[in-house]
């Protein structure tokens, strides 16, 4: 007998993969790292997920949950030979409750499919990562995904009311409930963003948001990136919270335009996409106000999407940005950090300086409204020393954002990529608290081991006393 035999017995041969080539296609997500895969299982029900967990535990193999594999931080990439449990087939929208504006969905439901399903009913699922046409609700829960429209609506955690998950012991638990503010410890919020280290999410109760009665999307072009950043600061200072504020720099706009042909101004130094939603009168007033601010900040072109088709095309451009990068080089390394809005311009200047110094090509696209930067470095991994140079530059870039008071991750999660930078942000005591929380769910470290927390997070790893909870019960 073997792990694979047990899985085949539970799921059938069709939904278990063990051939090296099949494992190969599951050994990475949309980021850069690869990891070792022992087997892949594609369960269709919570009961089957339980069976997968039990089989893996029996054979002492760690378990890594996977959605669509669009993660950019290696969250779904194993650090040691693991069973990948891909939840993509659990893609049923179980129940839509319009009265309470909620829906129970499977973890494999694609973010945009959910909105497409509920839009005719007058509702949508608000968090809209740029990967929303692909990524799963389970993956969004795993990474606490954000997106262009999270500026006004908040990230995933604000839209998850409850989760059903399978614990490391194969137990099915439900955390949270229909109430927006559950009584007692809010464990649901602990699971959101935990990157599969607390359990495998098998059902999610999401909040649905009413569709806006009116939408206006503005495309603003600038001769300098400062002008675009200035518009963002002034807009928010004027008390307007647009649904989205997104900046792309020239190299990015050129790559994107090459794909979507939406008429993006490819000669401008920066393009700002601003979207306002609400009642028609308010939308008109706010759009007018943004336009005035933009003109003061030196915009050279103001375009308002005339219809839904043009709006969709503009957004398709923005949302294809990461993929479009490869037109210039086969590999890319994507940063994800949040800096205070007031220091956007300064940070950008320093990032361009680093890119110049390391002679790497950098393209920029970011959620300007909340200061979430995504500098993208395009490179060819087969060039001698390229990867090392990019990584070195990357560390400097992250440190710059930390220096200006930024955070380590805006929305893509910590995963593998930034794990070892956690110690720059958190004190040993903070890290220990996080490690103990994780231990409470997964004492043996069988769920996505080696993720989020660096080795040495627990106090006793620092040579301190083991925490009380580790002492044998009397």
């Amino acid at each position: 007998m073997s792990l694979v035999d047990d899985l085949v017995a539970a799921l059938g041969a069709d939904r278990v993969k063990a051939h090296p080539l099949e494992l190969r296609v599951y050994d990475k997500d949309a980021g850069v790292a690869r990891g070792p895969v022992a087997a892949v299982a594609l369960p269709e029900s919570t009961a089957e997920v339980v069976a997968c967990v039990k089989a893996a535990r029996t054979w002492g193999v760690p378990i890594v949950a996977r959605g669509a594999g669009t993660g950019l931080a290696g969250g779904a990439v194993p650090t040691e030979p693991a069973l990948i449990v891909a939840l993509t087939r659990m893609n049923t929208i179980h129940e839509v409750d319009l009265e309470n504006r909620t829906a129970w969905v499977g973890p494999g439901v694609i973010n945009l499919d959910l909105s497409a399903h509920t839009t005719p009913m007058g509702f949508h699922y608000a968090p809209d990562p740029s990967s929303q046409s692909v990524c799963t609700i389970g993956g969004n829960v795993g990474t606490n995904a954000g997106g262009p429209h999270c500026l006004a609506e908040g990230t995933t955690v604000a839209h998850i009311l409850a989760v059903e998950m399978v614990t490391v012991d194969g137990e099915i638990v439900e955390l949270g409930g229909p109430a927006p503010d559950p009584i007692g410890l809010d464990l649901r919020a602990v699971v959101v963003g935990s990157e599969g280290t607390m359990g495998l999410v098998t059902r999610v109760l999401v909040k649905l948001t009413p569709n806006a009665p009116d939408v206006r999307t503005l495309l603003l072009a600038y001769p300098t990136i400062e002008g675009a950043a200035e518009t963002v600061s002034q807009t928010i200072a004027a008390g307007i919270i647009p649904a989205a504020l997104e900046i792309m720099d020239r190299p990015m706009v050129q790559a994107v335009e090459n794909f979507v042909h939406a008429g993006y101004p490819t000669e401008s130094a920066a393009v700002l996409l601003a979207e306002v939603t609400g009642h028609p009168a308010a939308v008109t007033a706010e759009a007018g106000q943004i336009e005035r601010i933009a003109l003061q900040a030196g915009t050279t072109e103001v375009r308002s999407a005339v219809d839904a088709a043009e709006r969709d095309l503009l957004w398709l451009g923005r949302k294809s940005a990461f993929g479009a990068v490869a037109q210039s080089a086969p590999d890319y390394y994507l940063h994800d950090t949040v800096v205070p809005r007031t220091r956007l311009v300064e940070t950008m200047t320093r990032l361009y300086e680093i890119a110049d110094r390391f002679e790497i090509s950098m393209l920029n696209v970011f959620h300007a409204g909340d200061g979430n930067l995504h500098p993208l470095v395009a490179f060819d991994g087969r060039d001698e020393g390229a990867r090392e140079r990019v990584m070195e530059a990357a560390e400097e870039m992250v440190r710059v954002s930390l220096e200006v008071g930024g955070s380590l991750s805006g929305e893509h999660g910590i995963g593998l990529e930034k794990r070892d930078l956690m110690a720059d942000v958190f004190s040993p005591i903070d890290l220990d608290a996080q490690a103990r929380l994780r231990d409470a769910f997964d004492p043996d470290g069988a769920l996505n081991p080696g993720k989020i927390l660096p080795h040495g997070s627990r106090c006793y790893d620092f040579g301190m006393q083991p925490p009380l909870s580790q002492e044998p019960a009397l």
């Binding site: 069709d14 080539l21 949309a30 891909a86 993509t88 990967s131 046409s133 490869a326 037109q327 086969p330």
Partner: protein, 406 residues
């Protein structure tokens, strides 16, 4: 062992993929299975693994590749502009070379629960028909049963090959017609419509006698030598014409890629137009009349080889509207109907699941007529759509309007 033929996917093609995953939801086989191995990104990763020498061209690789419909929906979705169709043809050429005589394995792919009635269609269709006529296809070609979805065969045999038709009025030029291997005998009405509209638009129409089958299916199947020979024959046969017109999207898509297959192929490719493209142009130029709406809805189905491979979506709608119909779209209009050449016989479950989904889309559209610019799609739609639904080529609707018929 890596690649062994000159037709293999190139490093540049494979490098273009940044594994962002944005193509996944557009891929019918990924949608049906949720399996990365059945996704464009997974297939490219597998090809790259062969190129890097860490995996072999074996049965598993071959199976991953042949499960692909070659619909190229991933290509339109890819912001990195990965030429997936070319890479896949390369992979198939390698499989044909490294695993000669390979038959489809017994392994069945899991297909979503979407199939209401999972009985297999024991019949072959377009791909099989072509295979039978031109003798390609290593898989299942010998076991062809009943061909479904065909039009009623015309009583007379009426090959267009070697014939010519003069323009009506003063000629503005001469165009060549690709007769095609299946279109010619089985879709004679489509050719008739094409010819009559082009003549009305002021073109002399010629079907060169020495032309051959375009070779699309041979290319999809990895039959490199045959593909090259057919391409070379056509480059010679179509030399010197202003336009080479096709009324089968699959053929047009392949002709437009002749640059990869024959010397002088790029010259021919640049002159290839789908009939709807040319007629839309004639309409824009005022060379052909437009008819007012008669209040009847026609659903336009986008063949993958028109929409994804040739990026043509406006022209067929323009032609149908000019014929006096109200155009409705199928939703989602970019999803493959499951015909896909030989696919109907090699993966009947997947093909049927897509065929049924397309039939549901037609149902929802409420249209009694569907216009499809590709014979393979036409047969597939006819196999699954309600019997009352009429399936025609867009050009037939326009030709009828032009002649004052319905």
């Amino acid at each position: 062992m890596g690649w062994i033929t000159g037709a293999a996917p190139t490093q540049a093609q494979l490098d273009a993929c940044v594994t962002c995953g944005l193509c996944l939801p557009h891929c019918p086989t990924y949608r049906a299975t949720g399996d990365e191995a059945a996704s464009p990104r997974g297939r490219l990763t597998a090809m790259a693994a062969i190129a890097d020498g860490i995996a072999e061209v074996d049965e598993t690789f071959a199976e991953m590749m042949s499960f692909c419909l070659q619909c190229r929906a991933c290509e339109t979705a890819c912001p990195s502009l990965v030429p997936f169709g070319r890479a896949m043809e390369g992979a198939r050429a390698e499989i044909a070379a490294q695993l000669p005589g390979r038959r489809r394995s017994a392994r069945r792919w899991l297909v979503g629960s979407a199939i209401a009635n999972p009985t297999l269609v024991g019949a072959a269709s377009f791909g099989a028909a072509v295979a039978q006529r031109i003798g390609v296809g290593r898989s299942g070609a010998g076991t062809i049963g009943k061909v479904r979805g065909l039009r009623r065969l015309p009583l007379r045999s009426s090959s267009t090959r070697g014939k010519s038709w003069p323009a009506r009025g003063v000629p503005r030029g001469t165009v060549a017609l690709l007769s095609g291997c299946v279109q010619d005998p089985w879709f004679a009405e489509v050719h008739e419509a094409t010819i009559s509209v082009l003549r009305a638009g002021g073109f002399d129409v010629v079907a060169p006698p020495t032309q051959a089958c375009c070779g699309a299916l041979a290319a999809h199947d990895g039959a490199v030598a045959q593909t090259r020979a057919l391409a070379a024959a056509n480059v010679a046969a179509f030399d010197g014409f202003e336009y080479v017109v096709t009324d089968a999207a699959g053929c047009g898509a392949h002709l437009k890629e002749y640059g990869h297959w024959a010397e002088g192929g790029d010259v021919l490719a640049a002159r290839v137009v789908d009939v709807t493209e040319l007629v839309a142009q004639l309409l824009d130029d005022g060379q052909l009349p437009e008819f007012g709406s008669r209040g009847q809805r026609v659903a336009v189905q986008d063949p993958c080889h028109l929409r994804h491979a040739q990026r043509i979506t406006v022209a067929p709608r323009r032609v149908v509207a000019a014929a006096g119909f109200d155009v409705v779209d199928l939703d989602p209009s970019g999803r493959c109907c499951g015909a896909a050449g030989m696919y109907t016989i090699t993966y009947p479950e997947m093909s049927e699941s897509l065929g049924r989904a397309k039939a549901d889309e037609i149902d929802r559209s409420g249209a009694a007529v569907v216009a499809s610019a590709n014979p393979g799609c036409e047969m597939q739609l006819r196999s699954y759509a309600d019997e009352a639904v009429r399936i025609v080529h867009p050009i037939e609707l326009y030709a009828a309007a032009l002649q004052g018929r319905d």
